[in-house]
């Protein structure tokens, strides 16, 4: 038992060290956390999107798993991702998160969009196993919420 714990602990330390190393120049941990969260969205969306576009063969289990991951991700508490002082105004190129997030009403609006995203993801997960043609519209509804948040709060890529 103790041995297992030591191995696990070592594995955690190694993984953490790896993360710190991957971070390279330090960087703001909250920024890295939220960018990683977005990256995981993209990964799971990509699995579903490839099927919706017909680029990948439809697989009900893989589609459902990816959609369930999205649901789970929309339900994570993101409080620690968005501390004051981590917008483009303070961090420049390191982030694309606009100061509007921290301005009056910003969080409330983001939370509202987050709630709608959660709903859209739940609806996507409910139909993801129903066949290739069911994914497209449900995925589009998810994308609509991605866009709503990015439109209000994300500086476009140059």
């Amino acid at each position: 038992m103790a041995f297992t714990r030591i191995i696990l602990t070592s594995a955690v330390i190694a993984a953490t060290a790896g993360l710190a190393f991957a971070g390279g120049h330090g960087g703001n941990p909250a920024v890295k956390a939220r960018q990683s969260h977005m990256q995981l969205y993209a990964h799971n969306l990509g699995i579903l999107g490839a099927m919706a576009k017909g680029e990948a063969e439809y697989n009900a289990d893989a589609a459902t798993a990816a959609a369930n991951n999205l649901v789970a991700m929309t339900e994570l508490n993101q409080m620690s991702y968005w501390p004051q002082g981590t917008s483009t105004a303070e961090l420049g190129e390191e982030t694309r998160a606009l100061p509007a997030i921290w301005e009056e009403g910003g969080f409330a609006k983001a939370m509202e969009i987050g709630g709608a995203l959660n709903q859209a993801a739940i609806e996507l997960a409910a139909v993801a196993g129903d066949g290739q043609e069911a994914i497209g519209p449900a995925l589009g509804a998810v994308g609509k919420q991605c866009g709503a948040c990015h439109e209000a709060f994300q500086q476009p890529r140059n």
């Binding site: 866009g147 990015h150 890529r157």
Partner: protein, 272 residues
């Protein structure tokens, strides 16, 4: 460039508008992006109030809902056509080209009439239009006449060798007015036609609007059409900024129209 400021009303005498077709024109033309009320999820309450901050000052989009007092409900179809095709207001003043009539000038009369018919079915809003907040000399409206003389040109730019390309060109160059942001401008504020859709500084913020010429955009036609439907890039980032609003409009078009836009983009000439 001898286009008259005013359309002969007789030109529209026999043009009946169809609101169902007009709805497609409405979404393709992106009216809602600037004129829909903030927070209006239907994107059909055209109360205006959108603030477009530019180097010339801040333009505030007017109420163009069917309200006869605060909107444009008391206009005639030829007056609407004058606005869309000539940038001329009913009382004869020039509109600032923040309203993209330089692109809409390429619209067919039928589409103008259909759009007018559709807009007449939308909810009226009694929110008063706000004045623009522009700096001198850009607050001198009559100077826009000079801009028009230099830059109002409704010739087509891109190729249209097939029916799909022709539809795509119409959607991009006329209704979608994509070039207004994606094409760089010369010193007089006119679009640089030999660098068509080659990207430009963001007119209303930091950064750049990306170029879409073949050397600049490697996405497949399917990727482009899918992006215009869902906002998802090929690596499943999601459109932000003004483009998120464009996607919200284009998602309402028939799939063939998004494919036509994608085909046109893939056929763009390289910038010179």
């Amino acid at each position: 460039m001898t286009r008259p400021d005013r359309i002969d009303p007789a030109r529209f005498a026999g043009v009946g508008g169809d609101p169902t077709r007009g709805e497609t024109v409405y979404w393709a033309s992106g009216c809602a992006s600037c004129h829909a009320a903030e927070g209006d999820e239907t994107r059909t309450v055209l109360a205006g109030g959108y603030r477009l901050a530019t180097e010339f000052g801040t333009f505030v989009s007017p109420n163009i809902s069917p309200d006869p007092v605060h909107g444009i409900g008391d206009w005639t179809l030829p007056q609407f056509a004058d606005a869309m095709l000539n940038g001329t207001a009913p009382e004869g003043a020039h509109y600032y080209p923040a309203f993209p009539y330089g692109s809409y000038a390429r619209m067919t009369d039928q589409d103008v009439a259909d759009l007018w018919a559709f807009m007449g079915t939308l909810p009226a809003s009694d929110v008063p239009s706000q004045p623009h907040d522009l700096t001198f000399p850009f607050n001198v409206r009559v100077a826009v006449g000079g801009w028009k003389l230099l830059n109002l040109d409704d010739d087509w730019v891109g190729p249209a060798g097939t029916e799909e390309l022709e539809r795509g060109r119409y959607l991009v160059e006329a209704l979608g007015h994509c070039a207004e942001c994606h094409t760089p401008r010369d010193a007089t504020g006119g679009l640089e036609r030999d660098r068509w859709m080659a990207g430009a500084p963001n007119p209303s913020g930091k950064g750049n609007i990306p170029g879409l010429t073949p050397a600049q955009l490697k996405w497949s036609a399917e990727d482009i059409a899918y992006y215009l439907e869902t906002g998802f890039t090929p690596d499943f980032d999601s459109a932000g900024g003004s483009m998120a609003s464009v996607v919200a409009n284009l998602a309402k078009l028939p799939a063939e129209d998004r494919s036509a836009i994608a085909a046109y983009i893939k056929a763009l000439p390289e910038a010179k």
